[in-house]
């Protein structure tokens, strides 16, 4: 493996922020690489949005250090704002302005001339598939369209670091695919992308790294590794018979007790401790001549880890 020397696009170290008695962010330490999409995963109320606000230079942490592309967003907000693009989870759009005007005005607020901003708006509208709605007022846009407008606003000044708070909520499948392609392109261009979501399946498709946030704290990589290595369920479907008929041959081949293997619709569910164990079992099933039609993890890796972390030993949990 070639070790690439990359400067991390986003660094947070020991970041804390509370609002009165509510400790929204307790201890966050994370790094998001340049040229990669990093997912911020956590349940509702785990502090994702608060963390995003601090990274976006809008909220000062009580303690800890932040760097956006090497710039401290608290000490030098103007400098940081020039290189970061932030898409909030709240869909705020000026109701009386059209999509085109919204992007143009935002561009001008980033210091572009009117002409530059207009050109950039036209480009972004085309890129995000908003052209047909470009001249209707924002109040008539659907949730998904507003979401796209929010993304366009975040991209208008061509930022090196992108902070996207729940960007995929409200998007239709085609728009999600477009978003995924867009994010991969940003990463390929060497930008840093931090994206939060609680829809784990869609996150898993696009991210390179994941940061888990539970009750305001980032989960250490050891704990993530431990959670990831815990027994994970796989679905096995045989081509020629239903689940009840499949239980016996599968159990016999794998040397398991047929009585404890659960079934779900057409699948038999089997737990494996690791990918290696699963691969061995698949080889055994095929070796035994069983017509394996489907052999897949029942939960995505991200979901598996996330659920395990949440159900894991509660530490310092709040009521």
């Amino acid at each position: 493996m070639v070790a690439l020397v990359t400067t991390p696009g986003i660094v947070a170290h020991g970041v804390r922020r509370s609002f009165g008695d509510v400790h929204a962010v307790r201890n966050v330490t994370l790094e998001a690489r340049e040229g990669a999409v990093t997912g911020l995963v956590g349940p509702n109320g785990s502090g994702k949005t608060t963390l995003m606000l601090m990274l976006a230079s809008l909220l000062a942490p009580d303690a800890g250090d932040l760097r956006i592309g090497g710039v401290d967003p608290i000490a030098e907000p103007a400098l940081a704002r020039g290189i970061l693009g932030w898409m909030p989870d709240a869909l705020g759009a000026w109701p009386a302005l059209t999509a085109r005007e919204t992007i143009t005005v935002t561009g001008e607020l980033y210091g572009m001339s009117r002409e530059q901003a207009r050109g950039r708006a036209a480009q972004l509208l085309a890129e995000l598939g908003l052209e047909s709605l470009a001249d209707s007022p924002a109040r008539v846009l659907s949730r998904g369209q507003k979401q796209k407008l929010g993304l366009a606003r975040a991209l208008v000044h061509n930022p090196r670091v992108l902070l996207l708070d729940e960007p995929a909520s409200g998007l239709d499948p085609q728009a999600r695919i477009d978003l995924r392609v867009l994010l991969r392109r940003f990463a390929a261009e060497g930008r840093t992308v931090l994206i939060s979501s609680h829809v784990l399946s869609e996150l898993e498709e696009v991210i390179d790294d994941a940061v888990f946030l539970v009750a305001g704290e980032t989960v250490s990589s050891d704990r993530v590794a431990a959670a990831a290595s815990r027994v994970r369920t796989w679905r096995i479907r045989l081509a020629d018979r239903d689940a009840t008929a499949a239980v016996l041959p599968v159990a016999r081949t794998l040397g398991l007790d047929a009585g404890v293997l659960p079934t779900d619709r057409r699948d038999v569910l089997v737990g494996f401790a690791s990918d290696a164990d699963a691969a061995q079992a698949l080889a055994a099933l095929i070796g035994a001549g069983l017509p394996v039609a489907e052999f897949s993890a029942a939960t995505s890796m991200l979901e598996h880890t996330f659920l395990d972390l949440r159900e894991g030993p509660a530490r310092g949990g709040t009521a």
């Binding site: 609002f19 009165g20 949005t49 606000l53 601090m54 976006a56 230079s57 809008l58 909220l59 000062a60 967003p73 608290i74 907000p77 103007a78 704002r81 020039g82 970061l84 932030w86 909030p88 989870d89 709240a90 869909l91 705020g92 759009a93 000026w94 109701p95 009386a96 302005l97 005007e101 005005v105 935002t106 001008e108 607020l109 980033y110 210091g111 007022p137 929010g150 606003r153 000044h157």
Partner: protein
């Protein structure tokens, strides 16, 4: 303060106002009201010569009144309303600084208030047709009107940055404006009437019963209390209507009275500065022509206060703006209770 970004924020604010129907409805209602007021003022003042001055001053006062009533709704929710609609943070995350956002919103609110003054312009022009309006009166009264609308707009924008709830900040802006307009008047009347001093009046009557008028040396004295408005006249200094009246140069008519409403209010307010005499003497045996100052003498001998009042108002607005700046600054350290950034 970057002028291009400031201009963008002003344009953004105004674009949204210009596209709302309510705004045109208000301007329309305003025009209808002014039409009525102008027509009535013409009938009221028509008897006098050069009656245009009276009509003109009436229209300016009504414009100020309506601007005072309307401006808080246009400015009192500009920051917290945006925060509620989640449109504030997307501006704060751009290169636009907190100062640019605040000043931009203030200028936009001011311009919105001035639109009402612009609607009043044709009526003011009609009023001058009646004659007797001096150019100085026009210039000074319009400048004061413009500044007053600005002060109220600044107070509204600032309070919307200080208080979290739009409804609450609009109401507070109305309270502050009422304190300046009605509150000062109430304080003036109540405090002035409660501070009373004794006046001693002594009089002597002549005896006309005989052939000659006999003056005895018997003086009768009586005492009574009188209110001392001269101790509290300065309370009225920060009243917008008093500022408008006090600042505008007054012309006096042939009978010695001010020709317009500005001058009459100015005379009324200035007269309260003069302390009443502590002793009154009435002597029938040595009749004196009662000395009374003419209106012009009263105005000339008393202290103008409009610049103090205007200074107080501007200081209040500037102080509130500073407080709003501290509250709205990002990266935010403390947030107003019950608010979110986005």
């Amino acid at each position: 303060m970057n002028l291009q970004r400031l201009g963008t924020i002003v344009r953004l604010e105004l674009l949204q106002r210009v596209r709302s129907v309510a705004w045109y409805v208000l301007l329309g209602i305003f025009a209808v009201l002014l039409l009525g007021v102008t027509a009535l003022a013409f009938t009221v003042f028509a008897a006098a010569q050069g009656f245009g001055a009276g009509v003109y001053s009436t229209v300016v006062f009504i414009t100020l009144l309506l601007a005072v009533l309307v401006s808080p709704t246009f400015s009192g929710n500009s920051i917290n309303g945006d925060r509620d609609a989640a449109t504030l943070a997307p501006v704060q995350v751009t290169l636009a600084s907190t100062g640019e956002i605040l000043v931009g919103k203030f200028l936009a609110a001011w311009a919105t208030g001035l639109a009402f003054a612009v609607v009043a312009l044709p009526f003011l022009a009609i009023a001058t047709l009646g004659g007797g309006v001096s150019p100085w009166t026009v210039v000074v009264s319009l400048v004061v009107l413009i500044v007053e609308i600005g002060v109220i707009s600044a107070i509204g924008v600032a309070l919307s940055g200080i208080l979290a709830r739009p409804l609450f900040s609009v109401a507070t802006t109305y309270l502050v404006v009422s304190a300046l307009t009605i509150g000062t008047l109430i304080v003036f009347l109540l405090v002035g009437s409660s501070i009373r001093t004794e006046v001693t009046s002594s009089y002597r009557v002549a005896d006309y019963s005989g052939d000659t008028v006999v003056c005895t040396d018997e003086w009768e004295t009586s005492t009574r209390e009188q209110p001392r408005f001269d101790t509290v006249w300065w309370v009225l200094a920060s009243n917008p209507f008093v500022i408008l009246a006090d600042a505008t140069p007054t012309q006096f008519g042939p009978e010695g009275w001010p020709v317009d409403l500005f001058g009459q209010i100015k005379l009324g307010v200035r007269s309260t500065q003069i302390a009443p005499a502590a002793e009154e003497v009435y002597d029938e045996c040595a009749p004196q022509v009662p000395q009374s100052q003419t209106a012009e003498e009263v105005v000339a001998s008393t202290t103008p206060s409009w610049f103090v009042g205007l200074g107080v108002q501007i200081a209040l607005a500037a102080g509130l703006m500073w407080w709003a700046y501290v509250r709205t600054r990002t990266p935010a350290r403390t947030l107003p209770p019950g608010t979110r950034i986005a």
